[in-house]
Amino acid sequence: MDLENIQREAQKAIKNSSNLEELNKVFSKYCSKRGKIGLILKSLKKLSKGERIKIGKQANEAKNLLKSEFNKRTRQLSKEAVNKEESIDVTAPGKKVFLGHLHPLTLVRREVEDIFQKLGFSIIEGPEIESEWYNFDALNIPKDHPARDLWDTLWLKTEKPLLLRTHTSPVQIRYMEKNQPPLRIIVPGRVFRHEATDSSHDIQFYQIEGLMVDKDVSSANFKAVIQEFFNQFFKREIKMRLRPSYFPFTEPSFEIDMACLACNGKGCSACSKTGWMEIIGAGMVHPNVFKNSGLNPKNWQGFAFGMGLDRLAMMKYKIDDIRLLYSGDLRFINQF
């Protein structure tokens, strides 16, 4: 058969092929090495030089033409194939995927730890069962003094009088006994109070204690560190203020208020119209605390602070009842 006929026949076959499979067959019938045009090209060497050039040129031209028509048809058929696919209801819900959930206190604690670690504070922990010495005496909280009433305590029926720590401050003593300044630590942990529970009080909660001691760490330094913490934690410039307070283990002692997040300091129901929220108790480490930890107060000074982690979590996620945190209710936890 002459080339022209082959070409015509192939073009027809390409046009008539109704799916990709058929089309591929057509391609190999004509254009593959053993296809009709392929065989013509193969047989060229038998011809004279003049013939070879002429027919070779024609054959290649035919092959290229078929290839381009073949490609065109391929695109056409592919498109048709897609169009034939049944459409889906994209508004139908996706398959349910079950992820795990971390507790909001874990999330907030990590965030706080990260911020302080960047500021060079190491994370230290201590026991939840404490002795009276570490929880009170060493912290300059005298026995039989009304100051102790600030910490309603759960005592244990143990041989030695032991208690559930009422704050993370005992770890200050434990750490300073074993480590020489300069030091910068934070102490996150669970603490306990003998307290009537309501939406903002529970018998257990989490505190983060901070302690920085060096030759000349000052109140001004404390203000800067806490301002930095606030700004990073709440991700904006937070207005704060210090006011006088009393803790037996710090002198001077401060209470730190931050401008109420809900009303920005204007006064609303969330801050009982004051515009401020009490958030951190703090102060400069009392000389007796240094003494009780085996450090010479003449050589060192520093600040200590404590804040409630639950409180931060409640503010961050707008949780209105602290007891939800310890309820084990998955309808609550699985929202985080």
Binding site: G100, H101, L102, H103, L105, T106, R110, E113, F116, Q117, K118, G120, F121, S122, I123, E125, P127, E128, D144, P146, A147, L150, L154, W155, L156, K157, L164, P182, R184, F192, H194, I203, Q204, V217, S218, S219, A220, N221, K223, A224, V225, R241, L242, R243, P244, S245, Y246, P248, E251, P252, S253, H286, P287, Q301, Y326, G328, D329, L330, R331, I333
Partner: protein
């Protein structure tokens, strides 16, 4: 504590700022305050009780803050006869009573107190009674000194005795309550018995009544610990006990007595006796504190001019003199809270205003935070369990009395629990997690907790629970993944189990890493599930985090992927039911050696198609060499060898 705005104003000639403004000032410079209709509610800090549980004390604060001049109330009394003519005193409990003063006023007219006085008392939360009692309360609110007034005629034997109560003694207080006393409680007695609980509350017997003509004013100072202990023991808190337990200036007793005499004279007439009977063996004098001015600025982190420091201290009523770079500061005796330079620095700082301290980031060596591996691994474990679909729980650290019988545990007991729900410390995380399963009525539950438990020692534990079909093996798979992710490889599950009541002993295993016992994995005992009314099996694990985190490793190395193809052969074996998977697996692994890359148990079948008492394991063995392509004949040889050895066991039968 409530304070009257008008009363506070009465100490100043100058007009005070509005009560709202005043409350703001006090909040910023002294203690938290709020105001409402002429009443200031102040949260006096415990260390300031001695001087500020009084209107004069708060007025002194205001004077220091505003720099205003304070007008002290009058104590100028007309005196005539001697008190000794009426009563004498005897202090038996000298350690519990550092000062006792008595003064008589004769010819009083008992009646109701003037309107203005009643008004002020009511504003501060006290109920007016009669002009004598009201005057005593009034002067207490004014000066902070608790005062008591006896009807002199009713004191049996005309002698006031301060002593501890005798065993079996009783007293009926002014409000008609009856108290049994004991020798730890200090009383004011006459020769007939207790007339008052010292520093706490007066008794009914020597009460001032309409017919009273001569009164004895008691202005004394009782030991703060004695009063506190007595008040706790009797569960009786009063305005007097509150003040005594915070401590009171010994020198206030006389001043307050004078003032009360003056006020009684004003409101009830009467003649004040000339002299004060005063037991005051050890006088207190103002303290002097040396204050290094450099230290002031160093601790606060600002530079306050020396003049300013001096002015603040003087406004607070302190005397200041300079010696080289230090101040000698003499502090009045009413400031019981001040004894160290740091105490004075707080006074300077707060009156100067903490808002004037500008934030300054610390300056020092750049020491990076130390890595805490406990914290690191805890975070890692939580993340892995979260990835495995677990929800994290924070439970209470307590278990109830009921739990002790359900779980057969004997935990540490709380001496003063808030309720029986929280009476014991949790000895394990399992108890409360199981209650979470019960409470959350989801179809499928996966939860975990990482927290401290209490037994002989306090330990951090990791526990988890799965509530769904085939929970045991799901949980086992998760623990294996967890341990592998912590780069722990030499772990195994040992069916030996000590008898711990939580677990179903037939369906539990001990988790071991090398030789270390690390925890348990198993199904919860059916009897516990039944008593908690949980309808489905629950699988749980509990591991010792203290041990676990020390075995974790961050080492992780890439294993080259073999370039040579793997060959797969299946092997099916019929064995008696009691045979454990591990027995068969071990043989395959030992015989296969390094050429067996993996063995997967893809089916365990017991049922119709196998003889009873037997089960069928189906293994998929993957053969692969690191360095070459295995020939089919080579694979067949090993595979046949495995089959042959397995078949040697007369009870086992490899299905061909």
């Amino acid at each position: 504590m409530k304070f009257s705005y008008d009363w506070l104003q009465s100490f100043f000639r100058k007009k005070l700022p509005s009560s709202t403004k005043l409350a703001d000032f006090l909040t910023l410079y002294s203690f938290e305050a709020s105001s409402n209709k002429g009443v200031l509610d102040l949260d006096i800090l415990p260390n300031r009780g001695p001087d500020c549980f009084s209107h004069i004390g708060v007025a002194r604060e205001i004077a220091a803050i505003l720099g205003a001049k304070l007008q002290m109330p009058s104590t100028n009394v007309a005196k005539n006869r001697k008190s000794k003519d009426f009563v004498s005193i005897e202090i038996k409990a000298k350690n519990a009573c550092s000062r006792y003063t008595a003064r008589t006023i004769s010819g009083v007219n008992v009646g109701s107190s003037p309107e203005w006085m009643q008004e002020r008392l009511k504003l501060c939360g006290l109920r007016p009674i009669n002009n004598i009692v009201d005057a005593a309360n009034y002067v207490m609110l004014e000066t902070g000194q608790p005062l008591h007034v006896f009807d002199a005629e009713k004191i049996v034997g005309k002698k006031i005795i301060v002593r501890f109560a005798k065993k079996g003694e009783k007293i009926i207080t002014l409000d008609g309550q009856k108290f049994d006393l004991d020798p730890s409680i200090l009383v004011i007695a006459d020769s007939a018995g207790p007339m008052a609980i010292a520093g706490i509350k007066g008794g009914k017997n020597p009460e001032v009544s309409k017919t009273t003509k001569t009164v004895v004013i008691e202005s004394a100072n009782f030991n703060q610990k004695t009063v506190r202990a007595g008040s706790k023991k009797l569960a009786l808190k009063t305005d007097a006990s509150l003040r005594f337990e915070h401590g009171i200036d010994l020198n206030l007793a006389e001043l307050a007595s004078n003032r009360l005499a003056y006020v009684i004279q004003e409101v009830a007439n009467g003649k004040v006796s000339q002299s004060l009977i005063d037991f005051y063996p050890k006088k207190t004098f103002p303290k002097t504190i040396k204050l290094d001015l450099i230290y002031v600025n160093k601790l606060l982190g600002i530079r306050i001019p020396e003049k300013e420091i001096k002015s603040i201290l003087e406004r607070l009523g302190f005397k200041v003199s300079k010696i080289s770079s230090c101040f000698r500061v003499t502090v009045p005796t009413f400031r019981l809270d001040l004894s160290l330079p740091e105490d004075l620095i707080e006074e300077i700082g707060r009156i100067y205003g903490y808002e004037n301290i500008l934030p300054k980031l610390p300056f020092g060596s750049l020491i990076p935070a130390k890595r805490n591996l406990r914290v690191f691994w805890r975070g890692m474990i939580k993340n892995i369990l979260k990835e495995a679909g677990f929800s994290e729980i924070y439970n209470y650290s307590f278990v109830s009395k009921k739990d002790t019988s359900i779980f057969k545990i004997n935990p540490i007991e709380v001496k003063n629990p808030t309720s029986s729900e929280f009476q014991y410390l949790r000895p394990s995380l399992i108890c409360n997690l199981l209650k979470n399963i019960k409470k959350n009525q989801n179809r499928e539950i996966k939860i975990f907790e990482l927290g401290n438990v209490f037994g002989v020692t306090e330990r951090t534990m990791l526990a988890g629970m799965v509530f769904q079909d085939d929970a045991f093996f799901l949980l086992k798979g998760i623990i294996s993944v967890l341990l592998k992710s912590l780069a722990i490889t030499d772990f195994y599950y040992d069916s030996y189990l000590e008898n711990i009541p939580f677990w179903n002993s037939k369906r539990s295993a001990e988790i071991k890493i090398g030789r270390e016992k690390i925890g348990f994995l198993g199904e919860i005992s059916p009897s516990i599930l039944k008593s908690l009314d949980i309808p489905k099996k629950v699988a749980a694990f509990e591991m010792d985090f203290e041990k676990l985190h020390k075995l974790c490793s961050e080492e992780h190395e890439y294993m080259p992927i073999s370039k040579h193809p793997a060959a797969i052969r299946d092997l099916s074996i019929l064995v008696p039911r009691k045979v454990k998977t591990a027995e068969v697996l071990n043989i395959i692994n030992i015989l296969g050696g390094s050429l067996v890359r993996d063995v997967d148990l893809f089916d365990i079948y017991e049922g119709k198609e196998v003889p009873s008492g037997r089960k069928n394991f189906a293994f998929r063995i993957i053969y692969q060499a690191e360095n070459r392509t295995l020939r089919a004949s080579e694979i067949d040889r090993i595979h046949q060898k495995i089959i042959k050895i397995l078949d040697k066991n007369p009870e086992w039968q490899v299905r061909k």
